[in-house]
Every structure is written in structure tokens, then in C-alpha cells.
Symmetry: D3
Subunit: 281 residues, 6 copies
């Protein structure tokens, strides 16, 4: 919560700074308005509550009512929300609110595409740490809105032993032992790049193995070998084209950074439909 | 500078939080390493100095030397930088540094494509405020690295009178008058959507007109009409496919949000090539 | 808004810190009071809303009603506002609220004197960046309350090319060219100290010239020369005595730092007129 | 220290924000310069070390050497300091550094005038809490540089019982008793407005009495009465004209808000005398 | 107030960070609950209002009603407060609220034991600066709740001249003189370790002497010697066993760090007694 | 790292605030000193590096050399570290540094006692979230220094399903299922209070069970039942007297809040042994 407040304050400050010189000069504080937020392409929506918080952080008097909710599919032209309040407040926070809504809906939309692709296989789609610096908490939320599941949030809440860790520890076995002793409360995931490493990870007590950048051929060998002994996560070069083929091999998880680092923003706009003067109480 | 420090601290904190449990447990503080940062697709680089600041913020002992510089084109496989320092420091800041480098290089790369497209026309490519919340300062930097020019940073440092402002003021003329009186030191830009509005903006003393969402046919009429009287910016639905045709009509500026809000990250990776123990002094 | 909150929090914290040891010990939380804020010399008021925010930041239960408003002239002895709320809250925020009100009214008052002096000439009085560190946003507000107009807020939102910039660029022409290319959206102001420089600035496309420290004789030559080609700002050694003579030469703007850096505070005091115990709900 | 860092960061940020658009565009990072800081009227200097910290906060490479020190009297035209470093750094922090130096020297200068006036009387000149919001720590420093002594910093580190406190407590005696019990480690000062109250304060065990807004006639009665029993502070309507007469009555302290709330800034300017290109190492 | 807000935010953030993964996953936002906070050993309560602020900071909708108040003695098993609100909010802030309540009640409880021990002697029990870093403001509050009195808050609001200060100043006399001149508004306390130093402190005008680590024999000599000339504070090796004997010697104050640095937490628990679904409005 | 910086800044600011009025007045900046930090009772040390950071944060010129290291047992009277630097800096940060060192050594010392008690049983001693608000990161570090192992840091990095969660989910089985789906990367721990719940937790796929407040008799039944199927943690009413008996029953972990919430501070003092004047360079 505090995290989100901080993100919102930073974003509003970045855009408004010492003031919106155009709006403050021309519009002043006495006008009120109502308007709509509309999507201009098909999408899965994410970020409505964040957009609301942005408008209200600037001006607690702004009111917003939703016509849909996060995680729902919407069609080009559909109205997402109605909004009303002081005209200057709406104009000053418009861009910041839309920038969040556009980006998060972009992530939810592409995530949904991947999830649909592997529907019925029982495989879980995971995200990665390849998120926008400073926005991970909201981008991981958008992944969930799109139907994905979150991998560890950061370096602090999950264990992933990579090649460099193994090199230092001497062997997969030693690396796992050290971490199990110090962090008995966490599952241990180990990144492996071939069958030899996979076997050692299984023998050494890994809970999950990350099959990194393996081609379909190697995956066909690796996944059955791991089945029932460790959970498996496939990662590397996953695309909308190949994810179904990978999923059909039966791993527990497939992870991809593309859903966060290369999502295209969804086009969303705000339009004031009515501007009026309100009696000051 | 303070802004950038804040962005970097937030991003490092987001990923590392209370500590990198894997690295701290297995690797400790006594090992050192050298490594390389390599690009895995053709790109225009941006963000090297920021990546350096990230590594050094975590550990001032890290050293980095560049093989290229921001704004240069690089080929798939090229080494961008060499890096050395405490192994745990490199591993802990790797993801944060790469996340910046990948995103900013993505922006620089797509910006360069647009700029190349209008080369020779004399038209200036501008960015917009459709940037990632919290990262505008670095994303606008990446636009410059790609060869673009920055439009106003935020609502506070430039004037843009839009339809809602005009509606409230009563007319374009009144809106411009108000702003000129209060902000005599700023150029005044006015958004117009047709020839009637364009003419009024010119008559009323606008310095720049934003020709918003006009099709080629209308632009063909509008731009010559404005020439020599006000500067012109074309905006809305600009793509790599149509930007050249628009530029050939001779506006002063073309602006597009796509270079920031929908840039795909460039694939960049870090690899430790050498891990060694160093005598403690 | 966030800026102002920050200024207020800093000021309250500076005065109250870990607590008002006198008031908290003697008065406690159960008493309420009403009182008045009164001006003790003729003045132009500025800062009433800020004072209100200060009282309410400490205690949202405080109520304030105004007898005047920012920008109005008031006479010695006049009541500016009535205030009521928890007695300890009023006493704890009194000094901080008055410190703002006294300083800002001081700025508004002296600004008004300058503005009155040049009334009817059509010349606009501008402030400078010679403001109290940390309080620029409220001091520039007080200038407007006094009838002045704000020059650029800081180094980030306006261009002013000074002698050092010119020295480095090689010539006024080159300096202007560089800045026009990089910042096409800003007006370009150039500081000139004699007629030669003025002519070069005009030739090179400056939008505004700052006639720096010129005596009346030189101004008489410079202003007509610039008329109709660039806007003119006169700056340096402006006093209440000479501003009218300067204004009559017909520049567009006259700027002076004295209205902010050497304004005398207006004497304003708060008095509790009634202290009573309120039933706790 | 942390307080001062915060003040400096706020001030630099306020002026520079997202960047000095003029200097960054025209000058870049490769030029170096040396220059002087010169006072343009007679003054007592204060703030040199703060100015230095400002320059170095922006750029640790800046070097400054002083020709005088805080608290010394300087003559119109005298050079206060020499400065050298990256040209852009000097230009970007110039205004902020000078704004501090001008204001603090203004306070030191007027304080010195008051102090000189009462020299030889043994009376101590005190400041008040009527300081610029957010700058109290540096303004109180400037008072000391001018030869004054600081009264309590804020509400948290000294006790001053005023009429409102007394009204609530029921009597001076009760107010003093309450505070002595809760804060046995602080001296107790009580504000009194006439001889009756003075006598009660003395009887009730006050350590210091503040003789508030008494005229010379009443002071002549009050001070001898208090002598040897409580310390006395005279406050209210103190001017350069009457302070000597008051001091000769023999109070322990005289306090005045004018030295902080109405000090005129001293005119101080920075000039770059030499700009050169330095080989990058 | 700002200090306390900061302490609460830090504590909540420390425990909850990016979210309570158990509660958010299993419980969601639609359930409400009521519960009780119960003490599990005899104690003096402190921290109820802080606990309330913690619950409400996370969720302003939480309601709490007290069955007792800070400073009261409670018996094992007694209910301290009833609480109701969103179930997830209660569970997320439970640990943080209890951690404060347990620690502060621990301090109040042990303080009360010391205070009871010296009841009737007229001696005041003081705390020290040996508090938990970051929590001094609330721990000093708990001391007051337990019946103790606060010594100076920190280095900034009270004077205590120790051996090192004296060594530098040359003599107790010189140290006192310097501080009296610079800080005329503070009482001066001097630490002395034997009768010689005590006599010098008295002669030199100390207001209070701290009799440091003296045994009963020396205290029997020192306290009568000081009586009526300076106030006396006994400090060092004070325990529940010896405090009465010390108090009977008649010092003004006895201080001990043990009441803050070695207080045992009181066992306090929260139990939800009723979980229900509430109609969303 | 950022967390620790923040803790240190907060603690220094809390004690020093606007300045150490005694030291700054009497000692000034020109004196230097060396000294020792000595322990005054037997202990296990923790916090040396933090104390060093505190001294250096205030003054980077302070030097410290250790005679021992964190986690080592020291005897009453032993010197922990030697310290040298500006005398005023040492005195100003002394209390803050010692407050950390005393508290953290207190935690390490009591933790060591518990750990010694169960030595050879193979059982791991865990801490809890009953830490001092704001200091968890350093207190958990002290637990490790004492030989303990950390349980989850907060609500965000580990799963613990308690009775309230189960009540809401409907059954242990349902609670586990929900969490496994959403957080596949975490081990799942479930709190159980009797054998029936234990059996359900095992059946439902828990990774760890927390045997809460069970007496020895029930533990004797529970632990063998769980062995080989889930890991077991015993919690509740663990004391130095009974921990060995519990450990001999063979659980995987025993956890206790007492090592953090009720640790007594270790008595540690700093003494300046040499004060001297240093030539200013």
C-alpha cells in the first residue's frame, strides 16, 4: 500500500511538478466536469483501481464509476469508466492515470494471449523479474489480471540457484546444502542447462528445476525425467508460437519475460463530455 | 541528478529489498569476478551510464569499461561493456541494471528507426508525455540517444492548449490571451483539429499549432496555410509506414507516443567470465 | 501540491519537533479556543490558504474563516481571519502559520508598491529567482497576489542565455542556434549589456532580450531599437524611485529581485479570545 | 547535518529540477572555469561553508578557497571566495549558493548593527522563532555569526509560558508548578506584561521573565525589581534607535525578531573569470 | 506527530512489505471480523493509542474500543481492547500493533515497579537516552505512563557536561562558563564522580549535578553537601533492590537506563472471535 | 543496505537533532581523540560493523579497529574496539552506537544460551517476528550472530497458515490448495494445535507444521507421527529450562520470540583515553 502510494506520488509529481501552467491559468478551480475513459482497441483491462487512486490522490473530490473490472476483456470503443469532479483536477491527472492504465492493460492483454494458448494443459504461466524498474508491484498485478501467476517478487523472497552460484559453491549439491541450512523455509529452485545438471539437481534435493533455454528435443527428455521428483519450469525463448508445443510436454510452469518487458501499451483515452459551474458551498 | 538517484534507489530496493537470499547465502563477500554485458540483437544503445551508476550505488568498488557509447548502433552479439568487482555485488545489481539498459535501448532503437525514416526532410521527431510513470527523465534521455528531440517534459514547463481549455475559455483567442498575460516567457502551442480552428489559432497569436489526428488530405491543406506564420506539429496515428509521407508535407515537427509507450526491450545479458578470490587488504 | 505539503511539514517539524513542551504540559488536549488573526500595519495580504493548511495539517479539526482574501489591501488593525479549534493545536501551529503569513504578505505588499508605480504604462513587473531557498513556490505566489507576474520558475522551465553561455558558444548566434534546435518549444531570452550585443541578439532570432544593468541613457536607445522585433526586459538596479522613469521608456517587462529577497515581513499576530472546555463525544 | 543536507537538496532541486536547459544545451560537460564571489556592499559575511556545500553537493569536483570567513566585516567590492570546477556545475549551483549567502549575510549584518549598538552594556542580544520557515537552523547560525545569541530553537527545547498558558493553568503559580514537575531539567521563562504579573512570576519561582511590550517607563520599574531574583528579557518594538536606551536599563537579554524576519539580502555576485577545456583523464 | 507517523509506517512496511502473501491469498477483502486484545500476565499498559493508529493507518475502517487506558494496572487475562474491521486488515497489522504494545507495556510495567519502590520519598525517577534506536519518542512516553519522568530527550534539548567536556574545557568552571554564555536558556547539569568535583561544580554555578556511580557511602556525604545549592541526580547501578536506600538519602532525582534498555516485553495476544461477510455498499 | 542506512540515519537524528548543544559549545571541531569500547559483562558480541557505520555516517574521518568480531564470546572487561577521530564526532555518536551494540549483543548472547542448550540434538533454533519495530533486519542479524537461524522475515516472504486462515478457507485442505495455486514457489507451513489438525495438514500436503503450544505429552505423539512426512516446528512457551527436553523429541525446528522481544541489553561503554589537537591541513 505504502509502495503504491509512493509510485503514484512519484508519477504525479513527475508530470505536474510545480503546476500545470496551461490548465491553472486558463481553467482555474471553479469548473467541474464529467467524462469517460474509453478503450480504443480490444484488450484485457488492468489498473482501474490504480487510476482511481491517482485521480483521488490529486483531488479527493473526484468520483469514478466503473463499467468493467480488471481482468475482463473489452472491445474497441467500450467505455471503461465514468469520471466526474473538478475540471482542472481531471485534466491534471489524466495523463498519469492513462499512462498506468495503458501499460497495465497492455501487460494483462498479452498475458491473456499466452494463457489462452496453453489453456487445458494444466501448465501455469509465470512472469519474471524483467519488469519496469519501480513498477514491479503493479506489473505483477497486471500479470495476475491477465491470468498469469507470479514467480518470486525479487531476490529477497525466493531462491534461484544459477550457474554462477554453483560455480562458487563447487557443485549443485553443495549449493543446495548451504541454502537449505540457512533458509529452511524456502523451496529451492535450481537452474539447469542440460540433462547432466538436471540429474544432479534432482539427486541433491532441489524442489524445482528451471530448464533454461533447452530446445524442444532436450525438453522432451528432461521433463519426463523430472516428473514426480521435482517440479519443472521451462524458460527461455518462449513465444506465442511455440508455447503450446512446450506446454504439451507437461512441465509444471512456463515463464516468460516478454509479457512485462515488451508489452505494447493499449490505447485508452479520456474525454470530458460536460463542463459546468458548481455552486461553491 | 537527485531524480536519477531516486529512480535508481527505488529500483534496487524493489529487487533486493532485505537481501538477495540466494547470493548472500552461497557466495558471501570474499569473491570477485569480471564479466561482460552483451547485446543479443541489433540495437541502438542507451543507458550505459545509468547501468554504471546502478552497479556503483550498490557497491562503489565495481568497475566498468565501455566498448561503445549511448546512441551508437550495435550488432547482435557485440560486447557493450566489461565489468569487474565483488561477485555478489555484480549478481545483486545485474537484473536492475539490465532492466534499465534493455528498456532504454529499446526506446533508442525504435526512435532511430523513425528518425531514419524522415532523414533529409528537415522535420524534427518529438516524443510525448506517454512515458512509463516514474521513468520519464531517463526515457526522454533515451529518445535523444536515438536521435529524437524532446517535447515539453511535463505540464509544468510547456504550454499546450487543448479543446477542453478552449471550451472553458470561450474561444481560442481568449485562451491564448489569458496565457500570454500570465506566462509571457513561454511559447504558446494550440491543438487544432480542422482548418477553421487552425485559422483562428494563427489569427490569435499561437506560436505553434498541433495538428491533431488530421488525415493526409487535411494536412496537405493545413501545413502550407500555417507555413511562415506558426510552427506546425503533426500528431496522432503516426507509424513507421506513414511518417515519411507526412514528413514530406513539410511540418516542423512530428510527434509520436509509440517510441516510448510501446517500445520493445532489447535483449541484453550479463555473463561472469571469471571468478576469483582477492586478498583482503 | 506535494511541494507545498512538503514545505508545510518541514516548517511544522522545524518548530515543534518532538513536541511543544510548554503547551503539552500545561494545556493538554481537552480545551478548545477561538481567536483572531490581526494585521498590525497596512499591507497587501498573501498566504491565508497556506496558513489554513498549516493549522489543519497539525489538526484537521481546526476551523478558519476569512475576513479578506489574498491580494487585498488591509489596514492596520484589521482582522484577517477567525480561527477555532483545540487550544493546544492553535498554539502549536501559531508561529509557523504566522511566519508564512508575515513573509508572504511582506512580498505582496512591496510588489504592489512597484506595480502601482508603473500602473498605466502597460509594462509588466516580473520577479526573479532571487527567492528564499525552499520557498520559491509560495514566494512566487505572493508576487502574483501583489500584482506581479512570474518570470521562469527555475533553470528547468525557461531559457536565459547569459554572457558565460555566449562565451562558450562562441557567439550569440551560435548559442541561440544550439538552443533552438534542442528546445524548439521554448522562447529564447538573451542577456545583453550594450547596443552591439542587442543588435546581434535581434539578428540571431532571440525572442526576448534582457537589457542588463543599462542606464537610462542606454535604455532610451535600446528599447526603441528592439520594439516590434523582440520583447524587452529591463533588469538591474530597479528601485521604487526609478521604476516609473524606466517604465515610461516602454519596455515589455521590468524585473527586480528586491520584491522577494529584501521584503520586510508584515507584523501579524494571533490572539485567543475565548478558551473553553468541550464535551468529548 | 542531516537537516542541512536536506535544506541544500531541497534548494538545489527547487532551482534545477529536471535540469538547467540553457546550460546543459549550450555548455555541456567538458569545460572548466574559475571565478570569484564578490560582495557589492559593506556587510558581515555568513554562509560561506554552506555555499561550499551547495557547490560540492552538485559536483564534488568543485573547489573553493575563502578570502574571509563567516562573521567578518567586508567592504563593498571585496572578493569573498575563489571558485573553480566544471563550468556547468558552477553555473547550475550559482543562484542557489548566492541566495543562501545573500540572505545569511543580510542577517549577520543587521545583527551586528544591533550588537554594536549595545556593546559594553553586558546585555545579550537574542533572536526569536520569527525565522524563515525551513531555514531556522541556518538563520540562527547567521545570528551567531553576527554576534547575537540564540534563544530556544523551537517549541521543543525551551519553555516559555505565555498568557494563554497562564489563563488555562489558572495562575502563573500553577503554570510554573506543572511545568517544573514535568520538565525539571529546563529553565522556566514566563512572559509578563505588567508589574503585577512580574511580581507573581518572581514569587512563583520563574527562572527568567520576558518583559513583553513594556515601554521604557515600565521597564525602569521592572528591571530593578527583578534584578538578582530572576533573569530578564526585554522584547517587543526593539529598534536600532531605541535598543541602547533599553540596554542601559540593565536587562540580561534583549530579543528582536527583526534581525531574521526583516533582514535585507546583501548583494553578492559570482563571475567566471576564466573558461577552459581540460583534458579528460 | 510526524515522528510517530514515520515510526508506524516504517514498522508496518517492515512486516508487510509487498504484501501478506498468506492472508491476501486465502482471505481476500470481503470478510470482516471482531476480536479482542488480551494481556497474558499482570502489567501496566502503554501503547493503546499507538496500536490503534497502526490498525487505522493500514485501514481507516478498523474500529477499536478500549477497556482500560495507558498507565493502568491490568491483571493476567484481562481484555485490553475490542477490535473490529476487515479481517485481512486485522491480521496484517496484528503483529506490528502487538509488538509495540508488548514492548511499551513492558517499559511501563518495570517503570512502575521502580516508582512504587520510592513512593513517598519525594524523589523523581528519570529515564535516560539508553532507548531503542528509532523508538525513543514512544519509549519515553511509556516511561511517563509507568509514572516516571523524562530526562532530556536527546543531545539537542538539554545540557550535560561530562568528564570529556571538562577535560577539554580545562576545568568545570570553564566548561560551565562557556555553556552559560552560549545557551543562557538552559539549566546546566554537570556529571561529577567524587566530592572534589561536586564542590567545584557547586562553586561554578551548576544547576544540577549528576552523582555518577557513587556508592551509598559517598552519596551520604554528597547529597547533604549539595542540598539547597544545586539539584542532585543519582545515576549508575540502580536496581530494584537498592533504589529505596538511595532515595532515602534525599536526592532530587534517580535515573536508570534499565527501565528502557532491559525491559521484558509483556505477553499480549489478539484473537478474532467472529468472522463474517458484510454486504458491500 | 538502504534499509540499514535508513535505520542509522533515523537513530542519529533522533539523538542529535539540531545539534549536541553541550559538545558543540564546549569542544568545537579542532580536537581529536582516541578511545576504547569495552564490554562490562560476559557476552556474545553483535553489531560491531553497525556501530562503525554509525560513527562514519556522522563523520567519515572516524577510524575503528576491532579486537573481536560479531558472534564471538567475550569476557567482562574485554576491549571490543579501538576508535579514533574528531573528539566531537565520537561524543555525538557514542550513545547511538552503543545503544545498537548493547541491544544486538543482548540478543546474540541469549540466543547463544538457547543454542548451546540444544547442541548435538540437530534441532535448529528459529526466531520469530516478535522483534523491535523498525529494527528487524538488525535483530535477525544478531540472532544469526548468536547461532540461531532466521524464520521468515515478514508476512511477505514466507507462508504460515494460522487458525483464522483455516476458518475462512473452510478447511486446512482448502487453505493449502489456494495458496499452492497462487504461490507455487513457497513452502507451505500450517499451524496446528492438536493431533487431528496435524493429520489433516499432513494429508493436505503441508511442507511444514507448526506445533503450537503443545505440551510435552502431545509433542511426544505429534513429532513421530510427522517424521518423514512433513517438517516440524515447535513453538510456544519455550524457555531455557525446557528447550532441551523438547529438542530431544526430535523436531526439525524450535522457535522462540523471547530471544528478541525480551533480551536484556549488554552493558558496553566507550571511554576516550587521549584527547589532542591536530594540525589542520
Amino acid at each position: 500500500m505504502k509502495e503504491l502510494e509512493h509510485i503514484i506520488d512519484t508519477a504525479l509529481h513527475e508530470d505536474i511538478g510545480i503546476g500545470d501552467i496551461t490548465t491553472e491559468t486558463i481553467i482555474g478551480d471553479t469548473l467541474f466536469a464529467s467524462g469517460i475513459i474509453r478503450v480504443k482497441e480490444d484488450a484485457v483491462v488492468a489498473g482501474l483501481a490504480i487510476a482511481e487512486q491517482i485521480f483521488k490522490r490529486l483531488d479527493p473530490g473526484v468520483k469514478i464509476s466503473y463499467n468493467t473490472k480488471d481482468g475482463e476483456s473489452v472491445k474497441n470503443g467500450q467505455i471503461l469508466a465514468k469520471i466526474m469532479g473538478r475540471a482542472s483536477s481531471l485534466l491534471k491527472s489524466e495523463r498519469t492515470a492513462l499512462n498506468f492504465l495503458m501499460r497495465l492493460s497492455g501487460i494483462a492483454t498479452i498475458t491473456r494471449l499466452y494463457v489462452e494458448e496453453i489453456k487445458g494443459t494444466g501448465v501455469v504461466l509465470l512472469d519474471t523479474r524483467k519488469t519496469t524498474p519501480g513498477l514491479r508491484i503493479v506489473e505483477k498485478y497486471a500479470v495476475r489480471a491477465g491470468g498469469g501467476t507470479n514467480h518470486r517478487f525479487g531476490l529477497f523472497d525466493g531462491i534461484l540457484i544459477k550457474d554462477n552460484h554453483i560455480k562458487v559453491a563447487g557443485s549443485i549439491k553443495d549449493a543446495i546444502k548451504r541454502i537449505q541450512r540457512a533458509k529452511p523455509y524456502h523451496k529451492v529452485e535450481v537452474e539447469v542447462k542440460d540433462i547432466v545438471e538436471l540429474k544432479e539437481a534432482i539427486r541433491s534435493g532441489a524442489d524445482i528445476v528451471l530448464l533454461d533455454n533447452m530446445d524442444l528435443k532436450m525438453l522432451k527428455q528432461a521433463i519426463p525425467l523430472a516428473k514426480g521428483r521435482v517440479q519443472t519450469e521451462v524458460s527461455g525463448n518462449i513465444t506465442l508460437k511455440n508455447i503450446k508445443a512446450v506446454a504439451e510436454l507437461g512441465p509444471d510452469f512456463i515463464s516468460t519475460g516478454a509479457i512485462t518487458h515488451s508489452a505494447k501499451s493499449i490505447d485508452i483515452s479520456m474525454k470530458l463530455t460536460n463542463i459546468y459551474r458548481k455552486e461553491k458551498k
